[in-house]
């Protein structure tokens, strides 16, 4: 079954210019999909449409087999967790534990079960030490980990990351990318991540490329990176990919590689 199915979706903010133009795609349950494209390509608009914050002009959205309508929107939202871009805009509690508890209260989880859940999710994102800290005093990467813990606590089937690492430094990005990967591998969640970070795209299973509100390309990271389309759009390839393409040209590698580990492994066999 598809976790998310979008058919002929069109949307405009001001009735004049469509910012999403007849977009269709589907995201299988349990998959890890990334959406890439320039600012203004419609990426975040799609995320807002999927959780019913914006209403489509035409087209259809189905989440876990249920069509998104005014009646089903709350039901659907209970199955989707979302982590936003700016870590500072998503805190409500005065401590990390309170903040995670807020989502649980909203989902009517009984008080006596909360402590265990909070401990458990904080452990998963390595934030147990900080449960009594003020969220505002944490680093950007730590804040996003708290936001992820909050999402994990309500056990949604789908998690959307809307440029969740774009305000973090490279260290913070790497940490959150690992958390996202773990979320997908260990918790079997469907992950949809809107991102600029090609290192993250490389670790996903399925990539959707948006350009001016339209899907221009869809496929595995390798297919997308080898297509030449990203270079045309002036988006960078991950270093492992661009360097291994050079190695292929030199006849040193048989095929391009997504990660440095793979490049090193294959080179070592030639030595």
């Amino acid at each position: 079954m598809d976790a998310i199915k979008v058919e002929n979706l069109t949307f405009s903010y001001n009735q004049e210019k469509d910012v999403i133009k007849n977009v269709s795609f589907s995201i299988p349950k349990g998959s890890y999909t990334t959406i890439v494209g320039h600012n203004g390509s419609g990426k975040s608009t799609i995320a807002k449409l999927l959780i019913g914050l914006l209403e489509a002009k035409s087209g259809k959205i189905e989440v876990l087999g249920q069509q998104l309508t005014e009646k089903t929107v709350f039901d659907i939202r209970s199955n989707i967790g979302i982590v936003f871009q700016n870590p500072d805009n998503q805190f409500i509690g005065s401590t990390v534990a309170d903040d995670i508890a807020f989502g649980l209260e909203n989902h009517c989880v009984p008080q006596e079960k909360m402590d265990d859940i909070i401990q458990n999710v904080a452990k998963q994102v390595h934030m147990t030490k900080y449960l009594n800290s003020e969220p505002t005093k944490l680093s950007g990467g730590q804040k996003q980990r708290v936001a992820i813990a909050g999402v994990l606590a309500i056990e949604p089937e789908i998690v959307i990351f809307d440029e969740s690492t774009s305000m973090l430094d490279p260290q913070g990005k790497a940490v959150i990318n690992k958390e996202i990967q773990k979320l997908h591998d260990n918790n079997n969640m469907t992950v949809l991540s809107i991102t600029h970070d090609m290192e993250e795209v490389a670790q996903s299973e399925h990539v959707i490329v948006l350009k001016q509100g339209q899907v221009v390309l869809e496929g595995s990271p390798k297919e997308i990176f080898s297509s030449g389309e990203l270079e045309n759009m002036k988006l960078h390839l991950p270093f492992a990919m661009s360097f291994s393409q050079k190695l292929v040209k030199e006849g040193l590698l048989s095929d391009s590689r997504l990660t440095l580990e793979e490049v090193v492994e294959e080179l070592c066999q030639l030595k």
Binding site: H38, N39, G40, S139, S166, M167, D169, P170, Q171, A174, H196, K234, L235, H236, P238, F239, A240, F243, K246, L247, E250, G251, L252, L260, E261, V263, V264, L267, C268, L270, K271
Partner: protein, 285 residues
């Protein structure tokens, strides 16, 4: 003239239970006309150091020489007001500090503060906009209806309009998308070519490698390393020691070295690395 920092110390909340020694004896020379990166972990003293460069903070001990000014402990604010015109300091996420109704008025705020007339200030604003890649059509617009990257350009224009000799930027590319970030870095390189000394605090080693001339590593309020960029990247252990991820090409090099490949320290660009690999692959012509 280069910037000289001598035995600089800074203690926050001295004499209180919250006393904290953020800088503990910094000795440093920053070359004029170069792009210098200041790196280090959170809490290593980067922000405290750069706030001394335009006298926003005054040393607790030690001294700085910058643009003909000597900054010593106990110096009064009025003595260094002119320094603020010579050294422009751009904080992290400067777009949060925009406040005027129009872009023209926001940028004109600085020059007016330094005594320019309304007319003079308007002329200066017109001249500075192209420097940040924007044109006069923006003058009457609200700064708040622009994209994040454009807002940041306006905030930087508000500093550039004072025509500082030295531009100090705290994480100028943070939070921008990759294209916005490289456009921003290109802007600083252009300003540097026009003669401005650029000092930037950065966490992004790819940027440091591509754009900077010199690197200063701070650790626990002290200078741990200070060198030109080439020497710096020849010592990836300096990055690892302070928990910073080296650029991808350096990571690849380190991984290969670990597996017994012979990669010389000064091999820092893709073509050289490609050549080194080619020579070591068995039976390769």
């Amino acid at each position: 003239m280069s910037i000289k920092v001598n035995k600089l110390e800074h203690i926050y909340s001295k004499g209180t239970p919250f006393e904290y020694k953020a800088l503990q004896g910094i000795d440093l020379e920053i070359r004029e006309g170069k792009v210098t990166a200041i790196i280090g972990e959170t809490g290593s003293g980067k922000s405290t150091l750069v706030q001394h460069l335009n006298g926003l903070l005054i040393p607790t001990a030690g001294e700085l020489e910058i643009c003909g000014f000597k900054i010593l402990p106990l110096l009064k604010n009025k003595d260094i007001k002119k320094l603020r015109k010579e050294v422009g300091l751009v904080f992290q996420f400067p777009e949060y500090q925009l406040f005027e109704e129009t872009i023209e008025r926001d940028i004109a705020f600085g020059p007016k503060n330094f005594g320019a007339t309304e007319e003079e200030a308007k002329e200066l604003v017109k001249k500075v906009l192209p420097l940040v890649g924007l044109d006069e059509s923006y003058l009457e617009r609200s700064p708040f209806e622009l994209s994040g990257g454009q807002k940041r350009r306006i905030a930087i224009a508000g500093i550039l309009v004072l025509d500082p000799k030295v531009l100090v930027l705290d994480e100028p590319a943070a939070g921008l998308d990759p294209k916005g970030a490289s456009d921003m870095m290109d802007l600083f390189i252009r300003l540097n070519k026009e003669g401005k000394t650029i000092i930037l605090v950065s966490h992004d080693m790819e940027h440091v490698m591509k754009y900077c001339d010199d690197v200063v590593v701070l650790d626990d309020g002290k200078v741990k390393h200070a060198s030109d960029v080439k020497t710096f990247f020849e010592h990836p252990e300096w990055m690892v020691q302070i928990g910073i991820n080296p650029p991808a090409i350096i990571r690849l090099k380190m991984m290969l070295q670990e597996k017994g490949w012979n990669i010389p320290a000064d091999c820092l660009d893709e073509d050289t690395l490609l050549e080194v690999i080619r020579k070591q692959v068995k039976n390769h012509e």
